[in-house]
Symmetry: C2
Subunit: 186 residues, 2 copies
DNA sequence: CACGTTTATCAACACTCGTTGACAAATTCT
DNA sequence: AGAATTTGTCAACGAGTGTTGATAAACGTG
């Protein structure tokens, strides 16, 4: 057999876990729920992922994957960044929904979001504006993007969820642009 | 006795509940934890609040309390709004921390945040810019403010938590200003 | 003081959860 | 085919949870 049977089961569990975790969060998701969603026995989850924590750690990952050339067209950076964020989030199984849904109550998820900020967003901003002002600028950007994701995808707040991608980008792009290159308080 | 003894106990429970709920969220908070924090018996919680849900419903309330005169100085509205948000959140026992910490996993909390948007923020924005564009503008404002609160108070993301109130206001005020009165995509 | 009401204590129930281990079935290898 | 390994099933355990009811202590009132 070219592919172990267990790999099929593992990915079925993973897919079900992503779905359930993203929908109800780490605490409310039960192994029994996930197993039922994947049409397997709860014990299989333990066999292949060791524990509920292990499954979550495997499922809740996210790569921001920012383009490297944002700084080459500085006047377009904000808009491009906004568009990139939305594109990455809306691709299925990105793991970001899992992460954000559980971040408020699960320390592991919170730490991973913090890591995305410090290891992916911050370096990109450093490359654009230098190390001096980068933390503050990256922090402001993170606050806007996380707030958008929370409002639109997690809480589904009416007005935010109703906006089109284009409206979102038109609204938030200039904000990111200013957070990147606009004036800053000392 | 001028004040029933039960009122003392009830407010002790309330205070402990706010603290525990705000720290770990609805699901991870246990009645036993809250009771221990308040130095009372778990059964007292049931007597006075009926259920864990009842206690949460009693604890998790929030009034944005926006000033009525924001529209009178339109060029200052964004900055004043930002300053007001921060002031309201940082006053102890505001209940907002409880709400936001649990919003991602608790439907009641999510619904209450949605209600703050639709019943408090939206009407204020309608009064300033009219009903046509208000939903989109209020949605954008909510996304930025929720994201700030999430980053700074719930997740304590380093760069955001490190900023001073003045830096926050200087950074976010202009954003709200543009969300209120700036150009908008159709 | 004695009585009724309010407040507090305690132990237990019923349930759900993550997790485990024994065992069976299927699959692969010799 | 027979043995060994992998994969799956099932029932149960132990811990923790919200919740309840019986019972005691504290308190105000005649």
């Amino acid at each position: 057999m070219i592919e172990r049977k267990s790999e099929r089961t593992k990915s079925a569990i993973r897919a079900a876990a992503r779905q359930v975790f993203a929908l109800v969060g780490y605490e409310r998701a039960t192994i029994r729920d996930i197993a039922r969603e994947a049409n397997i026995d709860p014990a299989m989850v333990m066999r292949y992922f060791g524990s509920k924590d292990g499954l979550f750690a495997d499922t809740a990952n996210f790569d921001l994957n920012l383009p490297q050339d944002l700084g080459e067209a500085p006047d377009k950076a904000g808009e491009r960044m906004a568009a990139h964020f939305i594109a990455v989030w809306e691709q299925e199984g990105s793991g970001f929904a899992v992460l954000l849904r559980s971040a408020s109550s699960n320390p592991v998820a919170a730490a991973r979001i913090a890591a995305v900020l410090s290891e992916q967003l911050l370096p990109a901003v450093v490359a654009m504006v230098g190390p001096q002002e980068a933390p503050q600028r990256a922090g402001l950007i993170a606050s806007q993007m996380l707030g958008l994701a929370l409002s639109r995808y997690v809480l589904s707040l009416g007005p935010v969820a109703a906006m089109s991608r284009e409206q979102i980008i038109a609204g938030i792009g200039p904000t990111l642009q200013r957070y990147l290159y606009g004036p800053l308080a000392r």
